[in-house]
Amino acid sequence: MSENIPPQEEKAPAARSSRSQPDSSPSEPEHLHRGLSIRHLRLIAIGGTIGTGLFLGSGKAISLAGPSIILVYAIIGFMLFFVMRAMGEVLLSNLKYRSFIDFTEDLLGPWAGFFTGWTYWFCWIVTVISEIVAIAGFALFWWPEMPLWVPASLAIVALLALNLPTVKAFGEIESWFALIKIAAIMMLVVVGLIMIATEFRTPTGSVASFANIWNDNGVFPTGFTGFVAGFQVAVFSFVGLEMVGTAAAETKDPEKNMPRAINTIPLRLMLFYVLSIVIIISVTPWSQITPGESPFVAMFMLVGVTMAAGIVNFVVLTSASSSANSGIYSTSRMLFSLAKERDSMARFGRLSSRKVPANALIFSCAFLLIAVGLLYAGTSIIEAFTMTTTLASLLFIFVWSMILFPISPTEDADRTSTQNLPTKCPAVSQCASSCWHFSSSCCGL
């Protein structure tokens, strides 16, 4: 860590707030954050776990894996929960660390900081590109005649316009986005439960019932290959989960907020992912779900209220915009801290008069234009979406692995030193051995 950069600032890429800094004067230049309240952070962290991967990608995931997709989501969530706990432990071990980039750099060496930092930047660029592809797809619901470049370009301009003014604007809009997403999932669950309770009959003649989970050719209707294929699509739903931890690291009291934020991840994943998928495939048997469509919109279409489907389409559009919005926010901050570490050009380390890293923001947004090209390169939107989401998943897997590496060699030492932290899971060793058997048997096949 260099001496001329105050380690307390300008580091983390994710959402930031006002961890109090008694020793730094408020008039200090190049000060990025402040303006995000705890309420913002909390909603962003909850909303950050729900995105296009769930709203749009789940359609394809269900059609590939059938009901076993529930298991796929649960397994990925379980694995990533441990990545987040590992991250939490290392972040708390030294409060100097503001994000995982800091500790990879400090523990693995400057090269790791460079690779993790830039790859994380690229992760979000690719993710935002796929969100924009999805936005263009959602826009077709209302304007099927509109050329695809129109919604895509509009989205890029809107992102720039939302992020240039102030950090506060970002926080406010993002927390509203998060609220809308949570409300949509709750609505889906309630409406779905009513449909199941009233034994709703779909136009194809099937009856909404929990039995659809196992009655439509069993839980693994597409066999082992289908089950594996589910992982390809489902991993993308979890990108951005690491923001839950880095956002908590930015709060006033990370020792208290971080374990809480991380330990509620499983509950959130159960509630948002597992529950909503269970409801969807109970109402509509999995084999009737169209891969290229949002099953969330489709379920409301079933009710026969086009109005409701329109609302849900608006929600999924919002959620894509929201992910894109936080993605752009993260990339510009990432570029800013890379410039501070002199891993990227100095001009990206400058702030505009409104304390926003404007150069970094514009640079990142320029890359999004690739999305417009992609929409015309492939034969279908879902094809472009699959390609970019795969790339994003792979890049995120690299970053998640980099988060794990610092504790791999010293795992035992870390475990004892952080034994008193409330991030411990009681059944770690039992879970570990069973899931080890699972992974090794899969790899052996």
Binding site: M79, T390, W400, S401, S439
Partner: protein, 67 residues
């Protein structure tokens, strides 16, 4: 536990190589790391980075000496 998760990631990588549409993404990833590696070779030459590497190497030596 983290080795279990890393093994799981390897499994996901394998899963991604199984289908045509996800394989394109898999092939694109090395290109990114090639670009990044090239950039790092250029960047690491400057004094600032050399100092940082030396500072890191010193820190590691000190930690080893402490044990």
């Amino acid at each position: 536990m983290c080795f279990v998760v890393l093994a799981f990631f390897v499994f996901v990588l394998w899963a991604l190589s199984q289908k045509e549409d996800t394989r394109i993404g898999l092939f694109l990833t090395p290109i990114w790391f090639a670009i990044l590696g090239l950039a790092y070779v250029l960047v690491r030459k400057n004094d600032w980075h050399r100092d940082r590497r030396e500072a890191y190497a010193k820190k590691m030596r000190d930690e080893l000496a402490d044990r």
